[in-house]
């Protein structure tokens, strides 16, 4: 797969132009997932996107750093107007080499998420604050080639390839099987409930998007997981109601109060309870 295959190559061309012009500022990319690319002298120092977990998510979800330590470092950096990365290193929460390696990894992952998604458009803007810039920044060409390489690896699995937006569930019978799963696969399997996408699973575990997609792809190729349409995923109401439409008591939850039970007897009953309040609400509608 060539770089131009990713996001129709539109973004790749823009990034090449930015590099040639030694552009400093941000590139706001509209699309799915879309995001913001921070550039310094034509090089890429950060990429913020909802498509892949950033360094904070990776460190906190994996419990590599506690929330309290992160918050303390963030506050200290803000008060003293220092770089967050310097604060993390000074507090010995991370080593200098580790910070750079992690930032480079999460940047490559974010760029992969961005360029392998849908790009509707983009706009250049002046430089904006960035909490965790990579120093020195990375070349756009390297990041694009890396994104293309990753896409190529996934594509090599053919129909088993799992995309970022695919919702994944355990294959029927997997729970009973005596299959030995690879490292991290049992955790993925436990979280793959048919509601979460590959992207959601990456955030839930604090692992890279590409790493998660590759792991899921391998699991799909081994018939451990399947892709499920969102419409087929279970919702809470189905779990909670008996065949007669009455609420079902859950073992792991105390019985709901009588008033709340009434609210769970189906939508029509629920809507009927949405009667005007006696005092007549004067609060304004948010729509």
């Amino acid at each position: 797969m060539d770089v131009t295959d990713l996001a129709d190559g539109k973004l790749a061309a823009v990034l090449r132009e930015c590099a040639a012009a030694r552009f400093t500022g941000v590139l706001r990319v509209d699309g799915q997932p879309g995001g913001t690319i921070h550039l310094a002298d034509g090089m890429i120092s950060a990429c913020e996107t909802s498509g892949a977990p950033g360094l904070e998510v990776v460190l906190l979800r994996s419990r590599r750093i506690s929330v309290a330590d992160w918050d303390a470092a963030f506050t200290a950096a803000a008060v003293s107007d220092r770089e967050m990365t310097a604060e993390l290193i000074d507090r010995e929460l991370l080593g200098a080499g580790e910070v750079e390696a992690l930032l480079r990894t999460t940047l490559a992952d974010a760029m992969f998420a961005l360029v392998s998604g849908e790009v509707d458009g983009w706009a250049e803007a002046s430089a904006a604050d960035c909490l965790l810039p990579l120093t020195p920044p990375a070349r756009g060409g390297w990041l694009l080639n890396e994104a293309a390489r990753r896409a190529q690896v996934l594509a090599s699995f053919g129909e088993s390839a799992v995309s970022a937006r695919d919702r994944v569930a355990a294959a029927p019978g997997t729970a009973q099987a005596t299959r030995v799963l690879g490292p991290g696969q049992d955790e993925l399997l436990a979280l793959a409930d048919g509601r979460r996408t590959a992207r959601d699973l990456a955030f839930a575990r604090g692992r890279g998007l590409y790493e998660t997609m590759l792991q899921l792809t391998r699991m799909r190729a081994s018939n451990v997981v399947v892709i499920r349409s969102f419409e087929a995923a279970p919702d809470g109401a189905e779990d909670d109601r008996t065949g007669a439409g009455l609420p079902r008591r859950r073992k792991d939850r105390p019985a709901v109060p009588r008033a709340a039970e009434a609210g769970r007897r189906g939508l029509t009953a629920g809507i009927r309870m949405l009667r005007p309040r006696s005092e007549g609400s004067t609060l304004l509608d948010g729509t």
Partner: protein, 133 residues
Amino acid sequence: MVEDALLAEMRALQKKVAGITGTAVASRDGLIVREDTGGVDPDNLAALSATWLALAQRMSNEVGQGTLREAMTRSSGGCVTIYAIGTRAVLVIIGDEGLDTARLHRESRAALDAIRTLIAENSPDGPAYLGHV
């Protein structure tokens, strides 16, 4: 069925916006109308959302900032956003750390409108629900 239509609207919003992990519609009295919360206790969520919405709207009024558009909490592990649906219900959105808030603000308008209409069409007081009476 109306139940399916409401769930379909909630899931359509979840499909469009990256980072939504759960949704729910609750009455202003704190009772669940429809939920798709992905494991979060819907009864507690409904009760808290109703109280939170009332407080957020009073806050907007108190400081003279007009109509409440949404209320959001951000935590180290994600965020929760609520929107008023008409005058008697609330839409709750649960998101992870990467929730695309810009897209949520855009896409939530159409979803709120559709859910509001669905509820109004099935409400005993019909147009009054929408605040037209």
